[in-house]
Symmetry: C2
Subunit: 345 residues, 2 copies
DNA sequence: GTTAGCACTCTGTGTCTGCGAGTGCTAAAT
DNA sequence: ATTTAGCACTCGCAGACACAGAGTGCTAAC
């Protein structure tokens, strides 16, 4: 168990390192008002803290920097959420002020605000498809062998895809198909569409249309494709202003990851509800071994809808970011609930 | 007028600098097989070329590098398109091999191939809306006051947008509106929709529906929004591997530009048909003052459809890139023509 | 007109130096 | 038994310096 003095010193070192990005020496700590003991004492304590694994030395005669374990302890025991400033609160609430038609607009806007407030990179994962349901399906013929499938979900999200058939399309058949599908599938969660289709719908369709098999194949393919979530970014390049990312090779590795939405959504999607903090190696992903990811979930009527995330260096302003994320995710939840009610009025 | 020898030397310097990214000295040129004269002679010629503005010196005792004017002369007079290698040709043709339903897939794929072949960043601007026409318009109610507008163009592109109305929606009215709009607007170029709507349609609509004004406003808004083109990127971070972009601040400036599709499409959209090369300041855009942009247009049945572009340092492999762009843009034109015929079969 | 020769210039690199910030240890002070 | 002052020691870093290498520009010879 750490003594009070050790806790004070550990906290002082993390705080100091987070703001200055430079190894912290015993003397600079002794200058603080809440520190009454001498540099020598601090050195002894620091030495102990290093032995316990909370601190590291970049080289033998430099100050100390927090280790991953140090940050973890700091986050778990040493910080209390900082109070948001007026500006921060009003920036977040400005998202609310804009009129919006689709959830996506809220999400894109949230990502922007989050990145500009924190000056890290923000990643917001959109309403997860497996939590949304089919509201409407449309098949619009655009040529004799092609049609556009349009899927509208109950979150107001619309996906479209062009498909083509081996044979000619029959307008009245298409209409029948659309009617059957809408009747049977409306309100079904997006993830269950494929199963539902093969178990219940295929038999019915068989009776009505000639191109039965290619139609089923096509629908399965469409449902399959639109399983993934959408990823929104804010301040993609913010991370470049952090001194730890002044190496172009490193930067490139990270930016390349942002181009792969699937990977990003895997890394940032949070399993648990609420706030999650993953520091360095805890991400189990080599390029992020000196990054921290903080995620928070937002929901609608208690249903998990998506994740807001922040990517920054392990040397992150934890208290502030945590407070902002907490506030924002709750605000988004509120916003969505209001939207949902307005929508169903 | 430059002498043959000056031309040979200028070409040698550009070629050499493009591959090695280091100032070129007189001795290294004299080693070339096609150079029969001594370093001293070359020095004299270089001195003249510098006076004429084709070359620059980074400092007094370094070799020479091409000036912007030097590159321009090189591009205009000294190069002949390089023959593509088998790999390059087959890479480009692999785009053709994939089955595709929407033009966007071709474009995205082209951007990828282009960036991987050149190792610069590629920007492809999608079918320009003002060249495409409305094929179909749909209004799908999703709640009592909201609907999704879906626009399908003759290029197979689909846009959607959620809209809401102050009052309740009447299903049969909506149907009428959709019918009228489709009848009157089908085949109209996307850019003319707004004009057409206010001049010809609004009177007709007036007769049929109650929420006349908000409907018109809504449609105008929708048509307005979908004027912009889509921008596709390939190898966004490729530019980081160029030695001239090893400064993080610089990199950030450029990457930030990529986040603004409107700006990018303004910078890369080519007015003229065919191949355009803009070197350095010729871009009239400070962050690109040491970049070259090469664009080529692709078309469908003679109609200008969009632009493929490459962004790299002024120190660019011009002959190779030009050949690739030329081949690719022609290939895309062919591909689109084939697609268009298949589509209308 | 061309080229060899040479002085000169500038950069990059390696070495040395001293400085400053920091540690760790020991011995004295509390 | 803590705490602290004192001091030797360790690095890293910036500046000074010399030196090699690459390159130029000029002059004089070919």
């Amino acid at each position: 168990m750490l003594t009070d003095r050790q806790l004070l010193i550990l906290k002082a070192i993390v705080d100091n390192y987070v703001t200055n990005a430079e190894p912290v020496g015993s003397r600079s700590i002794s200058k603080r008002d809440d520190v009454t003991f001498s540099p020598a004492t601090i050195r002894n304590e620091m030495s102990d803290l290093e032995e316990l694994g909370f601190l590291e030395k970049p080289h033998s005669s430099a100050g100390r920097i927090p280790s991953q374990k140090g940050y973890r302890y700091y986050v778990d025991h040493l910080i209390s959420p900082s109070k948001l400033t007026k500006n921060e609160v009003s920036d977040i609430q400005s998202i609310l002020a804009n009129r919006f038609d689709e959830i996506e607009q809220v999400i894109q806007e949230s990502a922007k605000v989050l990145s500009s407030l924190t000056s890290y990179t923000s990643i917001v994962i959109g309403p997860e498809v497996f939590e949304s349901r089919l509201r409407q399906l449309q098949l619009i013929p655009i040529s004799e062998t092609q049609a556009v499938v349009i899927i509208v979900t109950d979150t107001g999200h619309v996906e479209n895809q062009t498909v083509h058939f081996p044979g000619k399309l029959d307008g009245s058949e298409l209409e029948k198909v659309v009617n059957i599908l809408n009747e049977k599938l409306r309100g079904i969660p997006m993830v269950q569409l494929q199963e539902k289709l093969s178990l219940e719908i295929s038999n019915v369709l068989k009776k009505y249309i000639t191109q039965y098999e290619s139609m089923i194949d096509m629908l399965q393919d469409v449902f399959q494709r639109h399983q993934h979530e959408k990823v929104f970014y804010g301040g993609k390049t913010n991370i470049l202003s952090q001194p730890e990312f002044h190496d172009v090779e490193r930067v490139r590795n990270i930016l390349d990851i942002f181009e792969e939405d699937k990977l990003v959504s895997k890394l940032f999607r949070s399993a648990e509800n609420g706030l999650t903090i993953k520091i360095g190696e805890e991400n189990h992903f080599e390029p992020f071994s000196d990054c921290t990811i903080i995620t928070a979930t937002y929901s609608l009527d208690g249903k998990h809808m998506g994740t807001v995330g922040i990517l920054g260096p392990t040397r992150m302003e934890y208290p502030r970011v945590i407070s902002i994320m907490d506030y924002l995710s709750k605000d988004m939840t509120k916003l969505l609930t209001a939207w949902n009610h307005r929508k169903s009025e």
